[in-house]
């Protein structure tokens, strides 16, 4: 009876131990790896530190002393002093391993067990799932355009050759010495139909005049202007899929006149690790070249940097002053009011036409072409600043609001009739606000 009970108890205990032992150490390994190692090490990829997959075997094969890998994890300097192989390993990167004096051998083994159990396929490359969809539509359009040109060329050749055959036939027919040229034929034809030819010429001349005038009106209008760039930068992957705030890269938008084009060191904050898939790697290699960075062996900077020269998209003439921080901080205007929804822009950035801006939720509806003066002052006339983001923060605008509301109201009757205070009513239409 007693014996039986003891056996049962023993079996139960051993079963419990068996069940609990393995998963718990694996879990420990995962938790420890994530909290201690993962910031610098990956199972299958060199990062700040080398990859850890089957690192124990690697050390053994490399001729490391037994147990020196544990010493390395606990305090790399002790291991470096004791083991020549550890000393060799420490030269892998100029940065040093962190000291983990609080880990014991079992925990270190648990971490390595967890790492060795990681399948190779889980290698994080970043953004592989993203298929580049942009570009194909545009290509089709341009190739269709060429077909029209080719067709037109063929027709012209056919018409000319048929005409030539006809003319030669008539020349043979008439038997005259003087051979008629195209010009003679055209002149006689024009004289015969002089009324309709006159009307036609008039229409063409008028059309040319109107066209030239319209073209003159388009000078300086940058709608849909999309210059080439040194790198095919996809905004949708960065700001859309990966949810990076616009102001991370364009970081002076809330501090300065310009929003700022990020320098390569800002790109490198992420791309030190993210090397992209095949199509992306080609573009990312340009960043590495400019930053003087080589991704091999955890990545090293050479210090030999190059300039990346981007083309400015939103070109404003010198005679108009525009300040980003004024609009972003004081006006509280969202980037998409003027720049459109960049989280979906796969192609290169461009000046977004006003029709597309109007389709975006929450945008003030405007009619004039983007980046023209009409567009600016239209918005200044619409945008309310009462109850805006600056109210209650004190200072300049509160003072103006107070004066508007407390002084002789008859002066501002026109303004306050509709119950809202717009930028225009605080002087946003004064010439010298932007032109000085």
């Amino acid at each position: 009876m007693f014996n039986k009970g003891n056996n049962w108890l023993f079996a139960l205990m051993s079963a419990l131990i068996l069940i609990s032992a393995n998963p718990s150490s694996a879990q420990d390994g995962e938790a420890l790896f994530n909290s201690k190692c993962a910031t610098c090490h990956q199972p299958h990829k060199d990062m700040t530190g080398p990859k850890l997959y089957e690192v124990r075997q690697k050390w053994e094969e490399g001729g490391a002393k037994e147990g020196s890998i544990y010493q390395w994890v606990k305090n790399f300097q002790v291991a470096k002093a004791n083991d020549p192989y550890a000393n060799e390993v420490s030269a892998w990167s100029p940065t040093s391993m962190t000291i983990f004096a609080d880990l014991n051998n079992e925990q270190i083994d648990a971490i390595f067990d967890y790492v060795d159990a990681q399948p190779l396929s889980s290698e994080g490359g970043g953004g592989e799932q993203v298929a580049s969809t942009g570009g194909s539509g545009q290509k089709e359009e341009t190739s269709l355009g060429w077909i029209w040109y080719v067709l037109a060329g063929i027709f012209i050749v056919i018409i000319l050759s048929v005409g030539g055959v006809r003319r030669q036939l008539s020349n043979i027919d008439s038997d005259e010495e003087y051979q008629k040229t195209y010009a003679d034929e055209i002149r006689t034809w024009m004289f015969r139909n002089r009324k309709s030819v006159g009307v036609g010429v008039l229409v063409i001349v008028l059309a040319i005049i109107v066209g030239v005038l319209l073209q003159l009106g388009q000078i300086g209008v940058l709608s849909a202007y999309q210059p080439s760039q040194p790198i095919q930068f996809p905004h949708d992957i960065h700001a859309g899929e990966n949810d990076i705030d616009c102001k991370y890269c364009h970081n002076s938008a809330d501090k300065s006149k310009t929003a700022g084009i990020p320098t390569v060191n800002v790109c490198m904050n992420c791309h030190k690790q993210i090397q992209g898939n095949e199509t992306q790697a080609e573009q990312i290699a340009k960043i590495y070249e400019a930053a003087g960075f080589s991704p091999e062996g955890g990545g090293q900077y050479s210090g030999e940097t190059e300039n990346l020269v981007w083309n400015k998209v939103h070109v404003l003439p010198d005679h108009v002053y525009f300040n980003h921080s004024q609009h972003v901080v004081v006006g509280g205007i969202d980037c998409k009011q003027c720049h459109g929804d960049m989280t979906k822009q796969n192609e290169l950035p461009r000046v977004v036409p006003v029709e597309e801006l109007n389709e975006i939720d929450g945008n003030i509806q405007l009619t004039k072409p983007t980046l023209t003066m009409g567009w600016c002052i239209e918005c200044h006339g619409e945008k309310e600043i009462a109850n805006g983001p600056v109210e209650g923060k004190g200072g300049y605008y509160d003072e103006i609001h107070k004066r508007l509301l407390e002084n002789d109201k008859s002066l501002y009757q026109d303004y306050l009739e509709d119950g809202k205070v717009t930028v225009k009513e605080l002087g946003g239409w004064e010439c010298a606000k932007c032109h000085y």
Binding site: A38, S96, Q226, D243, D245, I261, M268, N269, C270, Q273
Partner: protein
């Protein structure tokens, strides 16, 4: 008759080539198009990202864009006003970068970075650095609000809205290895500042994106993720200062180990 036709056709040909050349100028995809009055469109001074390479009214192609991306002269600092406390906070950081920061983070001395002689001593010393922005009951709400504003644009995509290292980039699997702030209990405020300023491990230096005041504000905000009761003034005394002082012994022992 034939002669006249030839003359006319020649004229037409010349006109057409002229038009085509002109239109090709306008249709250059990189050109922003014609301007009515270039002298009013183009700034004689070099503006950010706009530099026509204009020197004394002559356009010098080899100078184009080069002048708009120059660094300020070595060891110049911006003007920070006359508030002594603020100015002292904004003065250049007194701690030097790690001796390997040039190779690991691209911070080269020729570009104005100060490198120390050793890998980690400056970082360990930074443990004792105090946050010059003191968190009080009165300013805590404002500091955390400002911290959230900076955090959401500069940190959140990797470190996550809750500071658990689960930002959108991590969720997508684009980036790996961002720690949960909860696991970083034994760091001093100064070390967090140092890591943001000069970068650490895979993270790059962020001192070009945010100034010292903003980084110290972020340190308060990040501490809120690390300690549950950080900035909670309802409990008798805030454990802010305590968590710092206890770390001094540890940093001393680490320094002697080096």
């Amino acid at each position: 008759m034939k002669k006249r036709f030839k003359a006319i056709s020649q004229l037409v040909a010349v006109f057409a080539t002229g038009l085509i050349t002109l239109s090709s100028c306008i249709s250059d995809p990189d050109s922003s198009g014609l301007e009515y009055t270039p002298d009013m469109y183009r700034s004689p001074a070099v503006e950010p990202y706009v530099d026509y390479g204009q020197v004394r009214n002559e356009i010098n192609d080899s100078l184009k864009v080069l002048q708009s991306s120059l660094r300020p002269p070595h060891e110049t600092i911006p003007y920070f006003g006359t508030d002594a406390e603020y100015v002292s906070m904004m003065l250049p950081y007194h701690r030097k970068a790690s001796s390997a920061a040039n190779v690991s983070h691209g911070l080269y001395e020729k570009e104005g970075w100060m490198l120390s002689d050793s890998l980690n001593t400056e970082y360990e010393k930074a443990k004792a650095d105090k946050n010059p922005i003191e968190l009080t009951e009165a300013n805590s709400e404002e500091i955390f609000k400002e911290g959230k504003r900076i955090y959401s644009s500069k940190c959140q995509h990797c470190h996550g809205e809750k500071g658990d290292g689960q930002g959108q980039m991590m969720v997508n699997g684009t980036y790996v290895g961002v720690p949960d702030y909860k696991n970083l209990q034994d760091l001093g405020d100064g070390q967090i500042f140092y890591s943001i300023y000069y970068g650490k491990g895979a993270m790059g230096a962020h001192s070009m994106l945010i100034n010292k005041k903003e980084i110290w504000t972020l340190v308060h905000y990040v501490n809120k993720f690390r300690f549950d009761d950080y900035g909670n003034f309802d409990v008798e005394e805030a454990p802010v200062a305590d968590s710092l002082n206890t770390n001094e012994e540890v940093s001393d022992s680490l320094e002697s180990a080096q």
